[in-house]
Each structure stands twice: as structure tokens, then as C-alpha cells.
Point group: C2
Chain length 471, copies 2
């Protein structure tokens, strides 16, 4: 049966002119063709105030912003963080007093501190020797006898519900190119630990162990090694299935093998053996080293004025805050729940505290979510297959302004991980950064109860776009 339908004459060529927002142009370029069909949705979800700001920021002001962004991206991509020392926080962290506790996320007062972070703070107050027990610690904190300060405002980043006391040891990471230094605590490890919102005697003992044993030994080890190129290790880790946020197994092991001769020189006393056991059981050991490395670069990047790139992204379990390069102002919203979660047996969403920790600094430098595509372990949290993990990286690519030149994804043809979250793109696309993270118990001090994916609230990015538009 031959066809009898009339043939429609189609034009044999079409050209598309980009009339507004850059993703249109990106989509055309990505297809490598002049002819393009866009599945159009209104930018910024049709939010006319946001569209007006974006039209300005992508239009008349784009030259200035893009120039600032180029310098921000260069700094995030080319700064080289070196681990150079381990010191007590009070000796190196700028602007803290001997009764200051640093906490993750945006600034907050005791009344606003969530349950797991309150427990971590009480444990830390006891470990510092300011109170003899948890009750005494509570009274001190409630009566404002302890100063609380956002770690991010003191060149420091803290994972999960870590509270950092002045006597606690911190990694000192220097980005020599920009002369910026950042700090992060030595990881507390898994189990019954304060950074998971525990305030048990064991959790307090672990803090004392880090201060009295691990910190001094790590100081000796780092002194022996001279300096350690943090992102050289992270880059190898990305080739070995780490996203270097939720998963740092490969990077941790590379660091430990690097440290091995120095560890052997420590001697075989009980402290060294306890330290070796702590290292052997802590596959997230590299996490805070990487965080300090990332913070040393965002500190360098945020010196640039007038950029639309995010240089702080942090949560305290109550609020979620971002800051842009060149500005001190926090754009704060409520902390989101952690969705797409896998819970330990016996726990569920009703047990889950809200998103917490400064580790999202990693997502700002091309690690974590941007590196998900290369991580089988992270894929397990994102649906199970490597294509699920690739989608997480692709989402970040849509809202990032560049690709990392050092973190390469083998499964994506050795493409660089997405680098530099641009608030304009976030608001335009409605795609918020996602952060792979642990979940703490909401109110019973039971520690970690699962892990999942937290999506940043869009409202903070919208506020940042409007503020950038007004400036």
C-alpha cells in the first residue's frame, strides 16, 4: 500500500538567535548545530522580579560580572592548598577568644541551635574543661557564658554538627598563591562522636583524644613531611571513586600511605597504637583536610568584588546560608530536610534532623556533588546506577560557570567536574545545588541515623540575585 498523504515542505535550514538568557545559547552550542529545538520553560519559574534582575545581570551588567567571575573561577581552579601544620585552634584561628565555640553554618544564637549541635556544643564545653558535666555545660551555654561564632567567619569549616573549642587541634592549610589560610578540625571518626550530635562520655573522650594524642602526633607527622598538596590527593581520589565529600576512602588511604614512614617513626607506645587504630577505622579522615583546602580557595576567591559566584554555602541544622564573592552578607533561609535518604534499620524521616555542616564548601570547588558521576559509592544514594550519579553531576554543570582543570571524571571522557556555582544560573534554571550528607537524629542524641541528599533552598539564591541586582 503506497502512501497517499501530501508531503509537507519543511525549510531545510533554520538559525536561532539567542535573545536573552545564556542557557539558550549553551543548549545550541551543546548540540553543535545552528538548528535547535528548546524545550522551553519560563526562566526563574516565571518569577517576574527575578527575571527583571536576571535581565539586568545577564544584560548591561554581564561584562563586569563575567570579568569578576573569570577571576573568581581562576582562583578556585588554580589555587593550590597545602597542608602545612596542625595546631590548637586558639593559636591559629583568627579572631577567636578562649571562651569561643565555633559552629557550622550561618551565625546563630543558643536559642536557635538545633538539638544535635547543642549536644555537640555541650560535649565540647566539657572537653574544654569549662564545665564538669553536661548539665553544667548546658547552663553555661544557656546563660551565654560561652561565645558562639560561625566558623566560616573565622576562616574555618566544620563538618556536620561539629563544635570547635579553642584547645582543639585544626589542620592548617595554606593556599600559597593567594596567601590565604584556612582551618578545619581533625575528623572525629565514626560511631559515638560529638560531630554526629552525641554527648556521651565516649564522645567527650574522643575529643580529648584528638586534642591530647592525635593532634600532637599529626603535628609531628606533618612537620616531618613538610607540606602535602591536598588537591593532588583529592584529584587522585576522584579517579578512584571518591566524590571527596560523602566518600573519601581512596583519598584517605592515599594520605595515610604518604604519612606511613612518619607514622613508623612515632614509636610503638600506647598513644601511637591508639592513633593508628583511629586512622585504620576512619575512612572519612581526609574529609576535613579537603574542606580546609576548599575553604582556603573560597577565601582567596571571595576577595574579588562584583561576582555572581557563591563562595560560602553552609548549614547549622536550623538555617541554610550562602554568601557571594566580595560580600560579607549572608542570604539565609530555613535549613532543608535531607531527602533521597537511606536510613539505618529502625529509623525514618521522622527521626531526621535538618541539613547541617560546612562541608558544602566542597561543592563550591568541584568536589562532592559535582564529582558524583565518578563515584559508585555515592551512586548508591542517588538511585543506585552510575547514570543516576551522572545526573547529579549534570545538574551541577547546569548551574556552574566552569569546569575544574584538576578534578577529572573518567566516566565522562575525563571532563572536569563542574566548578563555580553562579547564582544567576541557579535562579534562572530553578536547579539548586544538592549536597550529599549524613543525617543525624533530630532530638535524642542517637548520632547518625542515615545519609541522603539535601537540596539547597532556592530562596537564598533568589535573594542573592536581587541583592546583586541592586548593588
Amino acid at each position: 500500500m503506497a502512501s497517499t498523504s501530501p508531503r509537507v515542505e519543511l525549510p531545510i535550514e533554520a538559525r536561532v538567535v539567542n535573545v536573552g538568557l545564556p542557557l539558550f545559547a549553551d543548549a545550541i552550542a551543546a548540540q553543535g548545530a545552528d538548528v535547535v529545538h528548546v524545550d522551553w520553560r519560563p526562566p526563574a519559574g516565571g518569577d517576574s522580579v527575578a527575571v527583571r534582575a536576571l535581565t539586568d545581570l545577564y544584560g548591561p551588567r554581564s561584562l563586569d560580572i563575567d570579568a569578576a567571575n573569570a577571576e573568581v573561577l581562576r582562583r578556585l581552579d588554580h589555587g593550590v592548598p597545602f597542608l602545612i601544620d596542625v595546631r590548637a585552634a586558639i593559636d591559629v584561628v583568627p579572631g577567636i577568644g578562649d571562651r569561643t565555640l565555633l559552629h557550622p553554618g550561618p551565625p546563630c544564637t543558643w536559642d536557635d541551635v538545633c538539638d544535635p549541635l547543642r549536644r555537640s556544643m555541650r560535649a565540647t564545653v566539657v572537653a574544654e574543661g569549662w564545665a564538669s558535666d553536661i548539665g553544667g555545660a548546658h547552663a553555661m551555654l544557656a546563660s551565654r557564658d560561652v561565645e558562639l561564632a560561625a566558623a566560616n567567619e573565622h576562616a574555618t569549616v566544620l563538618p556536620m554538627a561539629t563544635a570547635l573549642g579553642p584547645s582543639m587541634p585544626v589542620w592548617v592549610v595554606a593556599n600559597r598563591e593567594g596567601d590565604t589560610r584556612a582551618f578545619a578540625p581533625i575528623g572525629q571518626g565514626p560511631g559515638d562522636v560529638a560531630w554526629y550530635g552525641r554527648e556521651s562520655p565516649t564522645a567527650i573522650d574522643r575529643l580529648a583524644f584528638l586534642r591530647d594524642v592525635a593532634g600532637p602526633l599529626l603535628a609531628q607527622i606533618v612537620a616531618q613531611l613538610g607540606s602535602i598538596d591536598v588537591f593532588a590527593i583529592a584529584a587522585q581520589g576522584v579517579q578512584m571513586g571518591d566524590d571527596v565529600h560523602m566518600r573519601t576512602q581512596a583519598s584517605t588511604n592515599l594520605l595515610i600511605r604518604t604519612m606511613l614512614p612518619a607514622i613508623a617513626r612515632l614509636g610503638a607506645d600506647s598513644k601511637t597504637i591508639a592513633f593508628a587504630e583511629y586512622l585504620a577505622s576512619n575512612h572519612l579522615f581526609f574529609l576535613t583536610v579537603a574542606m580546609a583546602g576548599a575553604k582556603s580557595l573560597t577565601l582567596y576567591a571571595e576577595q574579588v568584588l562584583g561576582s555572581s559566584i557563591v563562595t560560602t554555602m553552609a548549614r547549622n541544622g536550623t538555617t541554610y546560608g550562602i554568601r557571594l564573592s566580595g560580600r560579607d552578607r549572608w542570604f539565609v533561609t530555613e535549613a532543608p530536610p535531607v531527602a533521597d535518604a537511606l536510613y539505618y534499620a529502625g529509623y525514618g524521616p521522622e527521626d531526621a534532623a535538618l541539613d547541617i555542616g560546612d562541608s558544602a564548601v566542597l561543592e563550591l570547588v568541584g568536589l562532592g556533588g559535582p564529582a558524583a558521576a565518578g563515584s559508585p559509592a555515592v551512586a548508591a544514594f542517588l538511585g543506585g546506577s552510575m547514570s543516576d550519579a551522572a545526573r547529579a553531576t549534570d545538574d551541577m554543570a547546569q548551574i556552574c560557570a566552569a569546569e575544574s582543570s584538576r578534578f577529572k571524571l573518567p566516566v565522562m571522557g575525563f571532563r572536569g567536574t563542574p566548578l563555580g556555582v553562579d547564582v544567576r544560573r541557579v535562579v534562572e534554571t530553578g536547579i539548586a545545588p544538592k549536597v550529599n550528607t549524613g543525617i543525624l537524629h533530630v532530638n535524642a542524641g542517637l548520632g547518625q541515623v542515615g545519609a541522603g541528599v539535601a537540596t539547597a533552598p532556592l530562596a537564598g539564591f533568589r535573594a542573592a540575585v536581587l541583592a546583586l541586582g541592586e548593588s
Copy 2:
């Protein structure tokens, strides 16, 4: 312009009946459909003698062979090798005397030993104290004062040009399920070392260091740890970019972190520090552990009679030999060159010794080439992209009878690595196993000069098929 060509009426359904060789059926199954188009090439390259043998082995005798193979595959897949001890070879390796040198590959006499292996043997004779210098060692070997024996015939596997003297320490790996034990030397590490065909004083000192320092310390460490599940580490390594042959970085680091508390207990004397430095600089440390694990499984598998699965594949730099499960007979051909090679600066194919070493035992249990798809580092030798590495795995899948249930490839949807090389499939398809391997200097004792891919000669597999047909 409407078409005026006549329409051809095609049948709307076709069914294919498999008339002979199994790859036809596989291809149909792989397409998940009854309708199949096969790009047909003559099986066994049209070799009528081989086709006649295959017709028998796939036909009347296939039930018996497939039953034997099923048991061989079960043993290769489900045996569990544990590292349980480190001992001097003479104390544990069966059937060797105190003047025996074990060598890789098929049996050979001094006249047939290639240059790099001769150098390694001379270095080992000096390290054993049988001669005071290389010249004396040469005279002993040339006059047959030293017995040479193929390591594979003594439950032992040796990487590259390793010669194993009776005083040298070996890993003792036990497959408890089958009560088989296998042995492999502690890795000599990179650089100026005998297993790369060097006979310098440094290379001889390294052998003494392994015997006098590393061996005894590793024996203490393994005794402390009790036993170590070798393939649990290898399975994690495969998730982290190791093929666990050419690349063992992740597995090595996992093993070292496991050993860390025991290492810390050794004390901080100069021996321990030298040992730690050796570990820190040796990313192939896990290679020989994995080889002993693999050999413990092939020893278990080869107890099964009448199978077409390869249970020995080994090269001595002069000849390449395979053996089938249930038979002592070696099928030997000339050793091939190492192709697809990357050479160190200043070297080229004219400098390359022929393929050498027992490490191809790994390819028989689902590691090495079968695991290439997951390894960015190995991809660099196979063309550079992950799809090149995937092709190496796909080739192995065509000649293997099963998939590993423990070694999973994330980039292939967590499919198991191809397991169990079936000589029938090799001869039928003309696809020979490929082994990723180092390249040694052919005649000047310069050590490793590159790395590449060695393809097993088909003639040995053909001879095995014909012998299986006659039996």
C-alpha cells in the same frame, strides 16, 4: 516529489534456530529478541581440524564438559582466599629443595632462560649466598648446580622475571573451602630490582631486605591480624579503579590501612622505618597477594576433570604456556611480544623482552583484563578512553564462560567481570586473552622500559582444544 519505488514485502517475524556454536545463541540472547542478524565469520577462522574438534566438544560431549565447567566456575567464583602467614619458601612451598630456584612460566632449562630472567636468577643466587658474585652465580647456573623449576608446578606464582630462592619469604594464602594453599613472593617494589631483570648490588640488597626485614615484619603483622580476606580487598579495589593487575593502587592502600595498627606496634627502629618507606613507595604491593589468592583458586578448580576452562596461563619470556583444569600437560608456544606499548623515554620495541610472568593467573579469576573496564589507569594503555578499556572487558566476555559474582564493574551497570577462559570460545572466536603487563629490557639489564598489552598466542589454545577432543 512522491516516491515511486516499489515496496518490498518483508516477513514481519523471523525465528532463528541455533545450529551449532554457542556464540550464535549468545548473540540472540543478548539482543533479547527472536530476530537476529549475525555478522557471520567462519568459526576458528575456517580451520577445519579445529572446527571438527569444536563440533564434537560443543556437540555430543558438551553435556559432560559443561558440567565440569560449572564446577570449575563455581570454585573460581566461590572459593575464598585468606592471607594467613608469611614464611620462608623452603618451609612451606611443596616439593622444592634447598638448591631450587623457582621461575615463572612453563618449565625451561638454563639454555632457554631469557636475558632478564637470567639476571634475576643470578641476583637471587647471590642473595641466597650460593655464590659471592654475579660471575660465580652464572657459572653455577650454567653448570646446572642449581635446580630450576616452574613455580606453577609448586603452587606458586611469580610476577615478571622473579626468581624465587628457598630462603625468600612468601605469602601463604589458603582457600579454606577447597583446602588449597598457594604462595607468591613479597613484591620487590619499583626501580632497581631483580624482578625487572636487574642484577645490581641494589637489586641484590633488596632481596636481602625482603628476607631479613620485610618478611619477618610482615609475618608479625599477619599473625596479629589473624587472616585477611584477599578478594574482599580486591573487590573493593575494582570499585576504586584497580584492575588488580597492572593497577593495584587502591587495593594496596586498603591493605596497608588494614595493617596500620599492627605496623604501629612494630616499634620505631631502623628496620621498621625502612619497611614503612618500602610500603609507602610500592603501589604494587598488593599484586602478589592477589596472585597468590588467584592461584589458590585455580589449584582448587584444576582438581575437576574434563573441563575446557584454562587454569594455568604463564610466560617465562621465552615460552607461553597454558594448562586446562584436570590436566598436568602444558600447551606451549613462543612467548609473544608486548604490543600496544608505552615506552619510557629513549626506549622502543627493539629494546623489549618478550612477555614474562605468572601474573596472568589473575586474568583467570576475573581480574586484570576482565576488570579493565573499571580502571582509568589501565585505559591509558588501551587507547586512553574508558570505552577502550570497556572493549578489553568485552573481548574477555566473549571467551569467558561466566561472570564474577564478587568483582563488579560500576561503569557496566555493576555487571560481574568475565570469569573462566574457555578454550573452545578462544579457538572459535579467534580472540586470545590479553594481559596488561610491564616490559623489561631485552638484553642489557636495564629493568622496566615500558608497559603494554600482550596477546596470548592462539596456537596453544588450539592445541588444548585438539587434545581435549582426543581425550
